[in-house]
């Protein structure tokens, strides 16, 4: 095998496999109290490292967005340029103030300019972005809650009971809607969702095993 392939693929894959095996062993292994304390120390160290790395990964995500908008500007589309400039400008301003806070020892969240931007620009826009979904959900409810066949009829009945159980409207019509909703949620619904929780667990175990066996390669990004 070529030397470069070893450094490019084999070593990162082995590193992932080793960390997985070691951390699983650290969790289940018990010899005596002192050994456990040592093992816990190493476990915590690995966890702390991954927290630090995750913070840097999130920063790279922000840089990705900036690169995307720089590319849009470079394409010279007259319509898009002013908008991309606004995005870039705000992002850069935030980052500048964040670094300024870091340099002066002020906690970033309490830095006045930084917090002005997130309180007055980020919070309202981001909540508005999600809240427009209400319109799509309302028209989806109009289209999906139709008793086309027996399963759809059941969907409709359950949906209406839960909707009424969620509001005072239902309580005014019949006080029994709230307990009925609670029963639907805790009995048939919980049973219906349990396979999904089990499925998530199986998926996690399979992902772990694939990483240990070096079968999982998607995380490495582009092919070489």
């Amino acid at each position: 095998m070529e030397m470069s392939v070893i450094w490019r693929r084999t070593v990162p894959q082995l590193l992932v496999a080793i960390i997985l095996v070691v951390m699983t062993a650290l969790y289940f292994l018990y010899i005596d109290k002192t050994t456990k304390a040592t093992l816990n120390y190493w476990d915590q160290l690995l966890i702390n490292y991954s927290i630090v790395i995750a913070a840097l990964a999130a920063i790279v995500g922000g840089v990705d967005l900036a690169r995307y908008h720089v590319a849009l500007i470079m394409k010279r589309e007259r319509e898009q340029i002013p908008f991309s400039l606004i995005t870039l400008f705000l992002e850069v301003v935030c980052v500048v103030f964040a670094f300024y806070a870091l340099a002066t020892g002020v906690p970033i969240l309490t830095q006045p300019q930084f917090s002005w931007i997130y309180l007055n620009l980020q919070v309202p826009t981001s909540s508005a972005m999600y809240s427009i979904l209400v319109f799509y959900v309302a028209s989806a409810a109009y289209r999906t809650f139709r008793a086309r066949n027996p399963p759809a009829l059941l969907l409709l009945i359950v949906g209406v009971i839960v909707m009424l159980g969620n509001t005072s409207l239902g309580f005014v019509i019949w006080p029994g809607f709230t307990p009925l909703k609670d029963w639907i949620m805790t009995v048939p619904n919980a049973a219906g969702y349990r396979p999904i929780v089990i499925g998530v667990g199986l998926g996690t175990i399979i992902l772990g095993l694939r990483l240990i066996l070096r079968k999982e390669v998607t995380w490495m990004g582009r092919r070489d």
Binding site: Y27, Q44, I51, F135, T167, S168, V172, D182, N189, Y193
Partner: protein, 288 residues
């Protein structure tokens, strides 16, 4: 009615269906119906569900002075659903003289915490920072952060959200690990976060969990309660409104309940109309 006439009837019904289904019409009616309670407050009574009552009793039966961990990480959109729960429950906890350690696994959590604190200053009145409550702020890493904080808060972060060294906070000296907390409450808009806490807090340390979540996440989180991994769920704005009634402090949750009823009513009317349309079109078709 002869065949042709029935067919004509069918097409005009279909046309009516399209008109009712026109999104602008539905959107406009929806806006109007949510605004109705603003001009004509209905003050409909609200029922207290047995589940919210269970959460209330659980917190009421905690030993005074218990240590509570709160993961505060909903996003700005989720404020209307989760903030009422958070405010009412935190008021109850503070009244019970519990000591709260807040942290956020999601990036928007710290902002939402600050907004909550500024808009509800009475909750924190008379409570001393560092002794009665602490805010760690955002910790990156998702599941790693949950695991790290469960093992040791002071071993994971060196300072809190306001720049105080973690070693200077008396509360963290008393409550540093998952085992030392009588309860962990997760206020989140991310389903993944629920798995993080079930896996990293409940599974190894058996810390009881109460999950304060969005309505949309509720059904998928039920298996955790059925399996005993969470004490109970607080689902959506309605749970927050119920808790506000229980602690006697009306807020956004209760304020939104009338609008919830009127807007649910318009959606229910549309669902009924949709079914009438569907069946009349289908029955006409069959007759023909």
């Amino acid at each position: 009615m002869d065949g042709e006439e029935g067919l004509k009837m069918g097409t005009s019904l279909k046309r009516l269906d399209t008109i009712i289904g026109t999104r602008q019409l539905l959107y406009t009616l929806l806006i109007i119906f949510t605004l109705i309670p603003m001009f004509f407050p209905l003050r409909l009574p609200i029922s207290i569900s047995a589940r919210t009552k269970k959460v209330y009793n659980y917190i009421d039966n905690l030993k005074p002075g218990s240590y509570i961990f709160i993961d505060f990480d909903y996003d700005p959109a989720g404020r209307g659903e989760i903030e009422p729960q958070a405010v009412a429950m935190m008021k109850h906890l503070f009244d019970k003289k519990c000591k709260l350690v807040m942290a956020s696994l999601g990036t928007t959590g710290p902002v939402m915490f600050e907004i909550m604190r500024k808009t509800n200053p009475d909750i924190f009145a008379g409570k001393e920072y560092g002794k009665d409550w602490v805010n760690i702020g955002y910790v990156a890493g998702g599941e790693s952060a949950a695991a790290g904080l469960a093992r040791s808060i002071s071993g994971t972060v060196a300072m809190d959200a306001y720049g105080n060294p973690i070693g200077n906070l008396p509360l963290i000296k008393e409550a540093d690990k998952a085992e030392q907390f009588a309860l962990a409450i997760v206020f989140t808009t991310g389903t993944d976060t629920l798995y993080y806490f079930v896996r990293q807090w409940f599974t190894p340390y058996k810390t009881p969990l109460i999950l304060g979540i969005l309505g949309v996440m509720g059904p998928a989180a039920e298996p955790f309660v059925a399996a005993g991994q969470a004490v109970e769920l607080m689902v959506g704005q309605v749970a927050g409104a119920e808790y506000e009634v229980l602690v006697g402090r009306p807020g956004i949750g209760l304020g939104a309940m009338d609008a919830q009823s009127t807007s649910h009513a318009i959606i229910l009317i549309f669902i009924i109309l949709g079914n009438i349309m569907f069946w009349s079109v289908r029955l006409r078709g069959e007759k023909r």
